[in-house]
């Protein structure tokens, strides 16, 4: 029975971090630490002495980890970026998912693979959820703006809600713009008139 691995996840977003921890726990009994602070990262990682560090490729803090990849760095053990390993398909999948892994002390490929697989799956899932959430938020914002634009038109031109909507729709078609953009333009300039 190989010893359990010590894994560090660098992630600011708590929900996202928990998702990834869940995914990794399903792949084995690991000691997992989440670091959410961006500052002093290299020092804190060195103190925890992990086997694997997982970090979002989109995080600017990746550059701080690069320091660890130097043999003369604060952690006197070799740290390799996972992309150095030979498994091209897995590396590609990791980059697609936006996860980067730093492997300490030449951890064997067969021990790393299940962890990365799990991380890749979770990173995909979380980014899907994120884009869905962003889309929902945007839709809500747009609806609010359109409602306010309708209100302005109803008041200014003394028309019904349906007629106000039709006016906006027609303006959008005539100008070849999105309804939400026309509404936004109206709302943002209407204040100047009153």
């Amino acid at each position: 029975m190989p010893k359990n691995l010590t894994i560090i996840i660098v992630e600011k977003d708590r929900d996202r971090a928990l998702q990834i921890v869940d995914g990794l726990n399903a792949s084995g009994d690991h000691a997992i630490t989440v670091l959410s602070e961006e500052s002093g990262l290299a020092r804190r990682i060195a103190a925890l002495d992990p086997d694997v560090v997982l970090i979002d490729m989109a995080s600017p803090s990746r550059d701080a980890l690069e320091e660890l990849a130097l043999a003369s760095g604060p952690m006197d053990r070799p740290v390799a970026m996972f992309v150095d390993h030979s498994d091209g398909a897995l590396t590609k999948a990791a980059i697609e998912a936006g996860v980067s892994a730093y492997v300490v002390n030449g951890l064997q490929q067969e021990r790393l693979t299940p962890i990365l697989d799990a991380a890749i799956t979770r990173f995909h899932m979380v980014s899907r959820m994120r884009s869905e959430l962003a889309a929902t938020r945007r839709a809500l914002e747009e609806r609010k703006t359109i409602d306010r634009a309708k209100g302005i038109l109803m008041k200014a031109r003394g028309v019904s809600e349906d007629e106000a909507y039709a006016l906006l729709r027609k303006a959008a078609m005539d100008q070849g713009r999105k309804l939400a953009e026309v509404a936004e333009a109206l709302v943002s300039t209407a204040g100047l008139l009153s």
């Binding site: 600017p60 990746r62 980890l65």
Partner: protein
């Protein structure tokens, strides 16, 4: 036929040649469409390039050389086709240190590297200095400065990697006491009241290659037509940037949210060399604070690659002679000259020179003899001869 070329950059003032080439259509003039990808960190941009997600990238000049020496996390060998910018970095200190230095009579002239170093190290405080990346001109200039000042090992500051967007925060939290960073991040530290600018990078070395255009090893030889278009469109963008009249327009374009997303007047300071050095609004003028074109600024001098290679080798226990050779091979002066031969004759005939030998702008023999090289001195007057590395 227009070729689309995915190209990566980090949102910094010196990404201007790429952003301008795309925004003003210098790429289309060469039948190229630069599809720009903004990257979150140097490590990620390097990996995008290594894995083929982008074909070309705006990189720190020492990064491809470190890769050639097997340092850091890059296995893929890279090549440099052009230099994108010279100089453009700043060294800054915390307001607390600045106050102490002022109290001792130091005037913050933003010019004299020896005086600045002596004033800073006379405080005799333990210092932590942030740099953006372990393989960066920021780190190289700092190490050179410390070496030349002759500080004993126990009085040397420690150098830490801090991503530029977090530099101001690290200063505010007191995790670092000083920094060497590219614009607009030094200026942003001043704006946030957490830093005061001590020196421009060029006070240490007057002509330091800062950012380069890198591709995977062998790419430019396999795609000579594309490489030529790429080198030429960036040269044209550089020529536009070299005209001082275009600086305001440049600052406006860089400030757009899809690029730097920073107010244009902050970007303008680096482009014009008129930097606000303290939160009290003191202004210092630095000529050639960042250079994109004049004096063959785009030319990848192999001697500059060798200088970087030797510095890295000494610090990481590698053989300096072999490292200098490996580094020179990374800077493709031959390809740069070849692909620009149709558009300009003002390129150096040689691929290497003695670095640090020019204390004043000097004429150099080029094909038509009109090339004026800018001064390239090191602040301590040393010279670096790539033929005499030991």
């Amino acid at each position: 036929m227009t070729y689309t070329l995915p190209t990566g950059y980090i949102p910094l003032t010196d990404a201007a040649p790429l952003i301008i080439a795309r925004s003003l259509g210098f790429d289309e003039e060469e039948g190229l469409h630069l599809e720009l990808h903004r990257a979150p960190s140097w490590a990620t941009l390097r990996d995008y390039l290594a894995m083929g997600r982008v074909e070309a990238a705006h990189l720190l000049a020492p990064l491809p050389i470190a890769a050639a020496l097997g340092l850091g996390g890059a296995a893929q060998p890279l090549e440099v086709l052009s230099v994108l910018s010279l100089n453009g970095t700043v060294i800054g200190v915390s307001p607390g240190l600045a106050h102490l230095m002022r109290g001792n009579g130091y005037r913050f002239d933003f010019a004299d590297a020896r005086a600045a170093g002596e004033a800073l190290f006379a405080l005799d405080q333990p210092l932590r200095v942030g740099v953006p990346f372990p393989f960066s001109m920021h780190a190289e200039l700092l190490f050179y400065w410390l070496d030349a000042l002759g500080l004993p090992a126990d009085r040397r500051p420690t150098i830490h990697t801090v991503p530029p967007p977090l530099m101001a925060e690290a200063m505010a939290k007191g995790e670092i006491d000083a920094f060497c960073v590219g614009e607009p991040w030094g200026t942003i530290s001043v704006e946030n009241g957490v830093g005061e600018l001590l020196l421009p990078g060029q006070a240490i070395w007057q002509s330091a290659p800062e950012k380069v255009l890198a591709t995977r090893h062998g790419w430019a030889d396999r795609h000579p037509d594309l490489a030529g278009r790429l080198i030429r469109c960036l040269w044209r963008a550089g020529r536009w940037l070299g005209d001082a009249q275009n600086m305001t327009t440049c600052a406006e374009i860089l400030s757009r949210p899809e690029h730097l997303g920073v107010s244009p007047d902050l970007i303008d300071r680096a482009l014009s060399g008129r930097l606000v050095v303290s939160p009290r609004g003191e202004i210092r003028q630095a000529d050639r604070f960042v250079a994109f074109f004049d004096g063959a600024a785009t030319f990848p001098w192999q001697s500059q690659a060798a200088w970087i290679g030797v510095q890295l080798a000494r610090r990481h226990g590698r053989d300096p002679v072999k490292s200098a050779q490996a580094a020179q091979a990374v800077f493709r002066a031959d390809l740069h000259r070849h692909h620009l031969s149709q558009v300009t004759r003002s390129l150096p005939g040689a691929s290497a020179k003695v670095e640090g030998a020019l204390s004043h702008a000097s004429a150099l023999g080029s094909e038509n003899g009109r090339l004026i090289l800018p001064p390239d001195s090191f602040f301590d007057g040393r010279i670096f001869d790539p033929e005499r590395v030991t």
